[in-house]
């Protein structure tokens, strides 16, 4: 054959290469390819899980922030409520105190009135006694029963008017 082409040798080379291609494919290429594919799938799965976890974290964070905001509002409401309660209690206390004070004033006024009446009464008695005593002295000095009676009546009238 020209160029030293030999069909037997071509077939020998083909056989050699077929053995090599099959061998390398089964022994090396496929196992390494399988390892790489499985690793890629595992990484992709992990990436998906990470993404899901990140989304869950974001959701939880939002939920937490919402709860925090709600709690803030609730605290504010409670604060307002308590302030109102405190204001009401203070008002109630003040009203009670005012009422008490008014009652005390009334009592004091009443007592003062009573005392005044009592003083007046005792003063009237004392004055009467004094008048009687003065009248007796005067009578003793004039010995005129008619004049004494007129003076006494006049005194009683004036005292009653006063």
């Amino acid at each position: 054959m020209p160029l030293n082409i030999d069909f037997v040798q071509i077939l020998l080379h083909m056989l050699n290469f077929v053995i090599l291609a099959g061998g390398l494919s089964l022994i090396l290429f496929k196992p390494v390819q399988k390892f790489m594919r499985e690793r890629k799938e595992r990484f992709e799965k992990q990436a998906l899980e990470n993404r899901a976890a990140a989304e869950e974290n974001a959701r939880l964070k939002a939920e937490y922030e919402q709860k925090l905001a709600d709690a803030e509002v609730e605290i504010q409401n409670m604060k307002l409520e308590k302030e109102q309660e405190a204001a009401d209690a203070a008002k109630e206390y003040l009203d009670a105190a005012k009422e008490k004070a008014e009652k005390m004033i009334l009592d004091a006024e009443k007592e003062a009135e009573e005392r005044k009446d009592h003083i007046l009464e005792s003063a009237q008695t004392e004055i009467g006694e004094l008048v009687v005593e003065a009248t007796q002295r005067l009578l003793n000095e004039s010995r005129d029963e008619k004049t004494s009676q007129a003076l006494y009546d006049e005194f009683i009238r004036v005292a009653g008017e006063q």
Binding site: L3, N4, I5, D6, V8, Q9, I10, L11, L12, H13, M14, N16, F17, V18, I19, L20, A21, G23, L24, S25, I27, L28, F29, K30, P31, V32, Q33, F35, M36, R39, R42, F43
Partner: protein
């Protein structure tokens, strides 16, 4: 002390270089020894045709390239088994240097197959991986200078398998056969006909491979042939030509095989003229 050592080194270097220069000069002055036992024509002819030295392969007289091919295959399969048994089970999610090399190699050919044959990848990734590894290592094999006995009884350095036209033809036709069968499997007889349209593919593939490897071989042979050029130059030329051809031919054959495979297994485009006509 340090200066003295440096001075001593300089003197040694000067003497050594001078000695080499004197010997080279003597060689050229006295005249070259008759190193060439074969004429350059015979060397080149043997380089191209491999018809002078034959070897025995299980009782068959074959070119040295057959022996080279089987040695390369045996070495590659042994290495693959060792990697499969000892390295692959220890592969980690974060790869080390060796794992990186293996993964990168597999990924490179796998990606090439997927890019050039997006419809169906099938066996092509593994095939071009094997072809690439085989072409690269069988070309580099030449550098090791493995000695083997010829049937004439003298030893010779085994050549790169693909520098033999029979190996190149085998590679070209095997690749074509694989593409043809894949085309028939994927698209039936139509797929086979589509592949047959590129009937020149196995020939072009074979001769491209053979020509590329042979050109490197001939240049190397030419350099080796002349004693005058046998200092330093063969190392540079040999390694350069061999490695460059190994890489380039690996890439070329892998790309061509995957591209033609992709065309062969591509599903036929449906003609929708009727549909268009109805619509209009």
């Amino acid at each position: 002390m340090k200066e003295k050592m440096t001075k001593g080194k300089k003197i040694f270097l000067a003497v050594w270089i001078a000695l080499i220069a004197v010997i080279i000069a003597l060689i050229f002055i006295i005249g070259l020894p008759p190193g060439e036992t074969e004429s350059i024509k015979e060397v080149m002819k043997d380089g191209v045709l491999h018809d002078l030295n034959k070897m025995n392969f299980f009782g068959i007289r074959v070119n040295p390239a057959v022996i080279s091919a089987y040695i390369v295959t045996a070495a590659l399969l042994l290495a693959a088994v060792l990697i499969r048994v000892f390295a692959v089970p220890r592969f980690k999610d974060v790869p080390g240097k060796f794992q990186c090399v293996i993964e990168k190699l597999v990924e490179f050919f796998d990606d090439m197959a997927k890019n050039n044959s997006p419809h169906k990848t099938g066996f092509i990734g593994a095939y071009i991986f094997s072809a690439g590894v085989y072409i690269f290592f069988s070309t580099v094999f030449e550098l090791f200078g493995v000695q083997w006995m010829t049937d004439a009884g003298h030893s010779m350095s085994l050549p790169a398998p693909l520098a033999d036209i029979n190996a190149a033809i085998a590679m070209g036709f095997t690749t074509f056969g694989m593409i043809l069968i894949s085309g028939i499997v994927a698209n039936g007889p139509k797929g086979g006909l589509k592949v047959m349209k590129d009937f020149s593919l196995p020939i072009s593939m074979s001769f491209r491979l053979f020509g590329a490897l042979l050109s490197g071989l001939l240049v190397t042979e030419l350099v080796y042939y002349s004693v005058k050029l046998s200092f330093v130059l063969p190392v540079v030329v040999g390694v350069l030509f061999t490695l460059l051809h190994a890489i380039i031919q690996t890439y070329v054959l892998a790309t061509l095989a995957s591209v033609f495979y992709g065309e062969a297994v591509e599903p036929p485009k449906k003609k929708n003229r009727k549909k268009k006509g109805k619509e209009s």
